[in-house]
Every structure is written in structure tokens, then in C-alpha cells.
């Protein structure tokens, strides 16, 4: 379960699967993402819970994404996500529009082993027109009260990054609880961590409160600074200069190809 390399750890992420990744601020596994692009992963159904930034933009630009399911893709203060925007305008990817809490609820449905989850709102939004797979029913507990039902999202693989793991496969995720929900919902979970610790993380009650138990985890590899150029909460910040450079380069096809050559295909010196 503990792998020697990130390349080994990402083996469960086959072409054409549904891959779930976390939002950009919760620890986006960028080293593993670059490894997937180097390996040439294809036809992913990428679900970003509930949004994404560089990670989705890189995978889309690299041609790894067939279907994208998320609430938003943006580089935040660095502007629109250029490869996402270009792919959408070219009709190059299938987009499943969503809204953040709908994705959270759909993952919780899978977590609970139920086929759907209800959610307030949404009715009257054009998102519903893009989602024939979402249903509107009358709330059986009230009169004339329409409500949306969201089908469970059961990813083939959840790919996450965390600060710590132990050799029993327990992973310390801290406050980023949706990483646990992703692992509960997914058939398999692939994890990269900043470092491995000795002993069992569950043995310490204070640490245990932030632990994802090992029985949900398929593979783990150490990837120090593994979210670079994005950050890990309370661990290290995003590399703003690099993100600004990405936004500049990725604005054009050629610039993006140059970025891939420099920062993805040429394995970055740590």
C-alpha cells in the first residue's frame, strides 16, 4: 500500500475512469497530477469537489479530460483558467455544470450508500437544464413543495494530498473533512503526503480526530511539497509568482505547451 514512487501510487488511475479531486485550497495533489500527464492519462471524467484551479486547467490543457463535473474552474486572483476557457469555447470537453453544495451532497449520498440526496435551491437555475440526471420531486413530507434530488457520485478513484500518513495507511487530513468524504465515496483512494511518520496516527487522540483510516486507502506515496505550486492548508502557501507565470503562459496554446515542457514533462528538480 505504501509505494516507493508517485508513479507507482497513481497506477489505479486508469484511462477513462471517474477521478475525484479536491478544491484548490484543500491540498490539490499537483505532483501526482503532473505524473498522470507524463503517463499520458486520457478520457478522464474529472470531478472537482466542488471547484478547481490549476489542477483541472492543466489536465484539460493536456487533453486528459473528456468530461468535467464541477461548480467552477478559475485561477482566482490570476483570472480565468485559460485552458478550461479555451476548451469550453471550442466545445472540446463535455461539461456537467453544478453548484458546490450539490456536489458535496452527491458525494455524501455515495458515502452513505444511498442512491440520491435532496438539496434546497437549484430550481429555476439553468443548471437544471444541463443536468437531465438531476430530478425534481414533490417533497413527500409537505404539500406543493418541489425539491431537487441529486444522484450519488461514486468515483472510481479519489486522488488527495495530505500532510502526514503512517505506515498502516492512516492519513492525517486535519480540518479538510471533504477529503474523508471523497475517500468514503470512492471505490479506491490514492494519496500523496508530505511525509510518513512512525507509529500509528490513531494512537494519539488529538491527531486521531483528523485522521482518515487506512482501510479506505489503496496507495500512498510521499510527495514532499506535493501540491506545488498550490499550497497545503497550514503547511505551505501557494507559489504566487509561479501561478502568475502559468496564467501568462497558458493564455496561448504555444505558451501552455512551453509550460508543460518546462514544468511537467521535464520532471521538476525538487
Amino acid at each position: 500500500m505504501i509505494c516507493a514512487t508517485v508513479d507507482e501510487a497513481i497506477e489505479p488511475i486508469a484511462d477513462g475512469i471517474m477521478l475525484a479531486v479536491p478544491r484548490e485550497v484543500a491540498g490539490a495533489p499537483m505532483e501526482a497530477t503532473r505524473a498522470l500527464i507524463r503517463r499520458g492519462v486520457k478520457r478522464l471524467h474529472l470531478v472537482a469537489l466542488p471547484t478547481s484551479s490549476l489542477q483541472a486547467d492543466l489536465l484539460i490543457g493536456a487533453g486528459a479530460v473528456e468530461t468535467l463535473e464541477t461548480s467552477a474552474v478559475s485561477l482566482g486572483e490570476f483570472g480565468p483558467a485559460p485552458r478550461f476557457t479555451a476548451a469550453m469555447r471550442a466545445g472540446a470537453i463535455r461539461m456537467l455544470e453544478a453548484t458546490c453544495p450539490a456536489l458535496h451532497a452527491a458525494f455524501q449520498a455515495a458515502e452513505k450508500g444511498v442512491p440520491f440526496m435532496p438539496l434546497r435551491g437549484i430550481i429555476g437555475s439553468d443548471i437544471l437544464k444541463c443536468r437531465p440526471d438531476w430530478r425534481v420531486i414533490d417533497n413527500p413530507f409537505a404539500a406543493d413543495d418541489p425539491i431537487v434530488l441529486l444522484p450519488a457520485i461514486k468515483p472510481d478513484v479519489a486522488l488527495i494530498h495530505a500532510p502526514l500518513a503512517d505506515r498502516d495507511g492512516n492519513v492525517w487530513i486535519g480540518r479538510e473533512r471533504e477529503l474523508a468524504t471523497m475517500a468514503h465515496a470512492a471505490a479506491k483512494t490514492v494519496v500523496t503526503v508530505e511525509r510518513l511518520v512512525n507509529g500509528n496516527l490513531l494512537a494519539n487522540p488529538v491527531l486521531a480526530a483528523g485522521v482518515l483510516p487506512g482501510f479506505y486507502v489503496e496507495t500512498i506515496a510521499v510527495a514532499a511539497n506535493g501540491c506545488w505550486p498550490l499550497g497545503v492548508p497550514d503547511t505551505y502557501p501557494a507559489d504566487l509568482e509561479h501561478l502568475a507565470e502559468y496564467a501568462r503562459l497558458a493564455a496561448t496554446e504555444d505558451g501552455f505547451a512551453k509550460y508543460l515542457d518546462e514544468h511537467v514533462h521535464a520532471k521538476r528538480a525538487a
Binding site: 478544491r23 484543500a26 486572483e77 469550453m88 469555447r89 451532497a105 430550481i123
Partner: protein
């Protein structure tokens, strides 16, 4: 008379719109609403609770990304802020794009949490500095979230106002229209009409937006600016000076 920057005026306007609240949440990349929430807290002696989703220090959620939405669904978030690539006269917002859905001519990032929060947060303040016919349109190209809903739909929340760099619009839920409440110093009603793509109501006399009081400016510059510097360093430096003070 004290001089102030347009950002300080907007912060003051938004803080007054927040009014009395238990919990105000502010999304990412929203420096002026964030500053306004911190100002409201400073003026309220610690109330409202302020959650700045962009910050770790001002973010008290511990149940993952879903907690903000769950908390709003519970009715515990009184005020939230939304914007739009397009906003129309019925308060509909478009965060998705313009043109053919499969090959849009313009693509925005996406709807984020708007299709839930716009329905369940009692006071949603629409904020868009760029006030032009490009952003304030007759009819949005995609409804990420509608300004109003049929009476049978569960909807405790919705828009109360739209704040731009030119004026403040109030939203009349029953008439499903905006109403021009005040025009910022340096702007005229004609400027507003000329640059607004939708029709709106207005009374015979439209006041000028009240400037921030000296006391408010002092609180803003001395108490709020340093707090803000942790969350929006560039913005704090630009508006309040490099030390985070004007």
C-alpha cells in the same frame, strides 16, 4: 470635509447594508465585502461573526467545504455576497457564460455555490464594481441563480441590493425589480441610466450616497485595515497604504 477613496465609500455602503446580523460569510476574491464585514464587526463590538472563506485565520469552519452550505441551509448565515459576469433587472445572475451552451462565445468560471446560497441566505448583497451595459444586462445569457422564485418554492433568501462603482440599487422582491436608492459622489442619474442595460425604478429625488463618517474612516483605517492585510495584502496596501494604514 474628510477625503476618502471610492473603495472606502463602497465598504461603508456595504457595511450599512449588512446591518444587524449574527453571521456574515464572504467568499473568495471579495476584498471590499470582506472589508465591509470586518468593519461591521468592529462597529458592532464583535458582532457579527465573520467568516472569510479565503482566510484560515478568519474561517471557523471545521467540517470541510460543505459546512458553509450546510450552515446556510440551517439558516445560520444571515448575509452573503454574490456577483455575476452578467446581472439582469430581475436579479438573475450569470456565472457560466454567454452563447451556445456547448460552444459559448464567453465562458465564466462557473456557478460556485450561487444556486443554493442565493435561495437560503436571507440577505444576499450583489456586488459588482464594473457598472456597464456589458455587466448589467436586460436578460442574462444563463441563469446560474434566479433573483426570485415562485411562491411555492422554499426560498427564505435572495437579493436585497446591488452595489456598483456608480450607485446602490435596492431590490424589490414583490416587483421583481431594482430600485435606484443612491448615486455615488461624482456620478449622475444619467450616468447610471446610460450605463445600465436594464430598466429600474426610482423616486422623484434620488439622494447621493452618504459619505463615510470621520469615525467610520478612523475605524476602517486604524482597526480594520491591519486585520485585512493578512487576508488581502495587495488590496490593503493599495487602499490603506503599505503598512495597512492610510
Amino acid at each position: 470635509m474628510t477625503t476618502f477613496r471610492i473603495e472606502e465609500l463602497l465598504v461603508d455602503v456595504v457595511a450599512r447594508l449588512i446591518g444587524d446580523a449574527r453571521h456574515v460569510a464572504v467568499g473568495n476574491a471579495s476584498p471590499i465585502p470582506a472589508t465591509a464585514a470586518l468593519l461591521a464587526r468592529a462597529q458592532g463590538g464583535g458582532r457579527p461573526y465573520v467568516s472569510l472563506l479565503q482566510s484560515r485565520k478568519h474561517n471557523f469552519f471545521t467540517d470541510g467545504g460543505r459546512e458553509l452550505f450546510d450552515c446556510a441551509g440551517q439558516g445560520r448565515i444571515d448575509v452573503f455576497f454574490l456577483s455575476g459576469g452578467e446581472i439582469d433587472g430581475e436579479g438573475n445572475i450569470n456565472l457560466v457564460g454567454i452563447g451556445d451552451r456547448d460552444r459559448p462565445s464567453v465562458r465564466f468560471p462557473g456557478s460556485f455555490g450561487s444556486a443554493h446560497l442565493y435561495y437560503v441566505v436571507p440577505k444576499v448583497i450583489l456586488f459588482r464594481t464594473e457598472h456597464s451595459r456589458r455587466t448589467l444586462v436586460p436578460r442574462v445569457g444563463f441563469v446560474s441563480a434566479p433573483g426570485t422564485s415562485p411562491d411555492n418554492l422554499y426560498r427564505p433568501g435572495g437579493p436585497i441590493a446591488l452595489v456598483t462603482n456608480r450607485c446602490v440599487f435596492g431590490f424589490d422582491k414583490t416587483r421583481r425589480r431594482f430600485r435606484l436608492d443612491s448615486v455615488h459622489p461624482g456620478q449622475t442619474i444619467d450616468d447610471v441610466i446610460e450605463n445600465t442595460g436594464f430598466d429600474f425604478d426610482r423616486g422623484g429625488i434620488v439622494p447621493q450616497t452618504a459619505p463615510p463618517s470621520p469615525g467610520t474612516l478612523r475605524t476602517l483605517r486604524e482597526t480594520v485595515a491591519p486585520e485585512l492585510a493578512e487576508v488581502y495584502p495587495q488590496f490593503a496596501a493599495a487602499v490603506f497604504g503599505p503598512t495597512g494604514r492610510a
